[in-house]
């Protein structure tokens, strides 16, 4: 088996989730009842037997570091390899790099020291369950310089507008990378590249004053370099706006969509909270809802997602909502189309109603 090292590059990811990214980067945003966005990216790597993972963090990474700890949840607390959280701290006086090349340049030791021959670079906004070993096999068979991962989406949504798209020839060779809104070949911000070649491209990019490794170092080199397109077939969600966050969260309530992301043989792992099982009382009425552990539900909940440790009092009604960790909903409160960030409290009888296409979002630790 080939050795791969992973880089999760958060450098160019914008914090576009409004209230949810006031205090944290997008990768640290809670998603799917008990996860954070980055859990999918890391689990994909460890499930592909990547044992060395670097995270290029740029901003608002306090909550991210708290979540990742030493990487224990993903078995990345290792003597060999493991998890490297790399915040922007650079002190090289000769450094002329810009943009995410600052990260590549100043953390070049990670690339130098790894025993892996291949590097997988991914972002955190494409929720999926991918096996990079399969992608690497195709990369090697194609003889390409770089292999990029894409998803052919059935339907285009607003979130796909900001994603790059691929034009592909009959041999799955990429002929163009662009932003054409009508294309359904959505580039998933993931690529595989040989370590030595990555090193070479980084040096060249820095010498030419580039500031975006993928756009300047790879996309701009077309058609001179061979870029192969690997099609990912499984469950996929691109989360880069509040609207896409809300809609793609609701998608998890569809058992089929759920099964495409959560697999027994490739589990999505996250930090453990040691919560008790969730408890339902005689008055609780719950349908079509995802419930994480440690919840106490006395009220009515439908078509919603409850994170860990949520308390819902008798008579409260929750519909089409996402309630994050440790929120407390007092009796007779009514929430519809609402996203509550962590530690919010909704007092007795309060009503919050958002629109189905624009949820009412309450920032962390608010009492209403």
């Amino acid at each position: 088996m080939d050795r791969i090292a992973g880089i999760i590059n958060l450098d160019h990811e914008q914090d576009m989730l409004d209230e949810l990214t006031y205090f944290r980067c997008g990768a640290a945003v809670p998603f799917g009842g008990r996860y954070r966005m980055i859990d999918f990216a890391i689990s994909n790597m460890t499930n592909s037997r990547i044992e060395s993972v670097a995270v290029f963090a740029r901003r608002k990474y306090r909550s991210l570091m708290d979540h990742l700890e030493q990487g224990k949840a993903w078995d990345l607390d290792r003597k060999r390899g493991g998890l490297f959280i790399l915040p922007p701290d650079w002190n090289d006086p000769t450094d002329i790099s810009r943009g995410d090349l600052q990260h590549f340049h100043n953390n070049i030791d990670f690339i130098n020291r790894t025993l892996a021959d291949y590097i997988v670079v991914s972002g955190s906004q494409h929720i999926c369950n991918i096996n990079y070993q399969d992608a690497l096999q195709e990369h090697k068979n194609s003889g390409a310089d770089v292999t990029v991962v894409y998803k052919q989406v059935k339907e285009l949504y607003p979130e796909h507008q900001r994603a790059h798209k691929l034009d592909i020839d009959a041999n799955n060779r990429v002929t163009a990378i662009h932003n054409d809104h009508s294309s359904t070949n959505v580039y998933m911000d993931m690529y595989i590249i040989e370590k030595d070649y990555l090193y070479h491209l980084i040096e060249k990019c820095i010498a030419h004053g580039c500031s975006h490794f993928f756009l300047d170092g790879i996309k701009a080199k077309l058609p001179d370099i061979h870029i192969h397109a690997y099609e990912y077939h499984g469950g996929h969600a691109l989360v880069n706006s509040m609207e896409s966050y809300y809609r793609n969260s609701a998608k998890l309530l569809d058992p089929q969509e759920h099964d495409e992301l959560f697999k027994d043989d490739a589990p999505v792992l996250t930090k453990i909270k040691n919560e008790a099982p969730s408890s339902y009382t005689a008055t609780s009425n719950v349908t079509n809802t995802m419930v994480a552990n440690g919840c106490v539900i006395e009220g009515h909940v439908e078509d919603s997602i409850l994170f860990r440790g949520v308390k819902i009092a008798e008579g409260a009604v929750i519909k089409n909502s996402i309630i994050m960790q440790r929120c407390e909903i007092d009796s007779n409160a009514v929430l519809e189309n609402v996203i509550l960030d962590k530690d919010c409290r909704i007092s007795t009888g309060k009503t919050l109603i958002g629109a189905p296409e624009k949820p009412y979002v309450v920032a962390k630790r608010r009492t209403m």
Binding site: G32, P277, V286, V291
Partner: protein
């Protein structure tokens, strides 16, 4: 190295025959409880929460799953550089060796383990009970009274006192007499199987007991009576709170059902006294549009399409449409088909209950049905019709 003030020894070698097939392949402390836990999570979490960071776990009967579960103790924060959890199985010695022959013998055979920490006190625990207890408060009491040994007791209803080891005490709480399952109890203070000994005293009595040919090498039958006979200072420490022996199928079922009462005595959501347990790290549970869930504890990884009423559902359980689970405990990874009826039952880990099966007797006071061996497949035709 600095000595440890108090080292815990957890007796986890018992078979627990009264739990029938639940302990056919696993030791009793590894039996599941409360939708997520194994019995041993309670004493080990109590140790961690009480600041006791050195625990020897004495294993003997069917240790595979228990050993695997304990691992390096990281689940309970007991992976320590000095101390932490140590699994202590019986072993061979240059001269003899062999199985542990009794609870006191198990500790006696591990004098070397205890000597390396040179503790002042030794806390002896069993892996049979569900309770949350601050052993540190008991240790303070033990030190404050200057006792040679302190035994934790709980008040039980007088009518049930004949089922327990009863401690008779004077006004100061000093134990004057120990009655094992007395016909006419003089007190209702039952021993909880939690002891703290001064290590020098315990060591002396263990060494003496080992020489006695007719001893059964048991704490309750031999060590405690010897201490009393010699007028050693034995104090009773009264514990208040939830404590339940889960040694039988009925009591295990009852203890699970206790968690479903309104404001249960045993609060599993207490942030200051967490019960730690190995987490399966599965997706959140999914409660489908067809589901009806009332009065239940449900863990992650479950998918509920049917009805769950007054039941405990462990992780990874699937309950299909039109099935009803009532007054039951469903252990991990059980798959329940359609139109299944389960009443007053405990279903073992990994069982597959096929469509249309009927299990258990719904009438109150009926015996609790146990769905047998781990991983069994129960077809509708083989189900226990009532």
């Amino acid at each position: 190295m600095k000595n440890k003030e108090c080292v815990a020894m957890l007796l986890a070698g018992g078979q627990g025959t009264r739990l029938k097939s639940l302990t056919k392949q696993i030791a009793k402390p590894a039996v599941y409880f409360g939708g997520k836990y194994r019995i041993i999570d309670f004493p080990l979490s109590n140790c961690t929460n009480s600041g006791i960071d050195t625990v020897g776990v004495l294993t003997q009967y069917e240790p595979l799953i228990l050993n695997d579960y304990i691992g390096i103790g990281d689940t309970w924060d007991l992976d320590r550089k000095y101390g932490g959890v140590s699994v202590l199985p019986p072993f061979m010695e240059a001269e003899g060796g062999g199985w542990y022959t009794g609870t006191a013998n198990a500790i006696y055979r591990n004098l070397k383990f205890l000597n390396q920490y040179d503790p002042e006190h030794v806390l002896v625990l069993s892996g049979d009970h569900i309770y949350k207890m601050d052993y540190n408060a008991m240790l303070d009491y033990h030190k404050g009274t200057g006792a040679d040994a302190t035994i934790s007791v709980i008040e039980v209803p007088w009518v049930e006192a004949n089922r327990f080891g009863i401690m008779n005490t004077d006004e100061e709480g000093r134990i004057t007499e120990f009655d094992e399952k007395p016909d006419n109890p003089k007190s209702n203070l039952a021993s909880m199987g939690v002891y703290i000994f001064r290590w020098d005293v315990l060591k002396q009595y263990l060494l003496e007991d080992a020489e006695k040919e007719n001893s059964s090498h048991d704490f309750g039958k031999d060590i405690i009576p010897s201490l009393l006979y010699d007028y050693k200072k034995l104090m009773a420490y009264t514990f208040e709170g939830y404590w339940k022996d889960v040694g039988t199928v009925d009591s295990l079922w009852e203890a699970n059902m206790d968690l479903l009462k309104k404001d249960p005595e045993l609060d599993l959501n207490d942030q200051r006294w967490r019960i730690y347990s190995k987490n399966p790290n599965q997706p959140p549970q999914y409660i489908a549009p067809t589901a009806h869930v009332r009065n239940a504890l449900i863990n992650e990884g479950c998918r509920v399409y049917g009805t769950v009423d007054t039941s405990i559902i462990f992780y990874g359980v699937h309950i299909c449409e039109s099935s009803i689970v009532k007054d039951s405990v469903i252990m991990p990874d059980v798959k329940i088909g359609k139109n299944v009826k389960i009443n007053r039952a405990i279903v073992s880990k990994g069982s597959v209950i096929e469509d249309g099966a009927v299990i258990g007797d719904p009438s109150p006071d009926s015996e609790i049905t146990l769905v047998a061996d781990e991983g069994s497949v129960l077809a509708a035709s083989l189900a226990t019709h009532t």
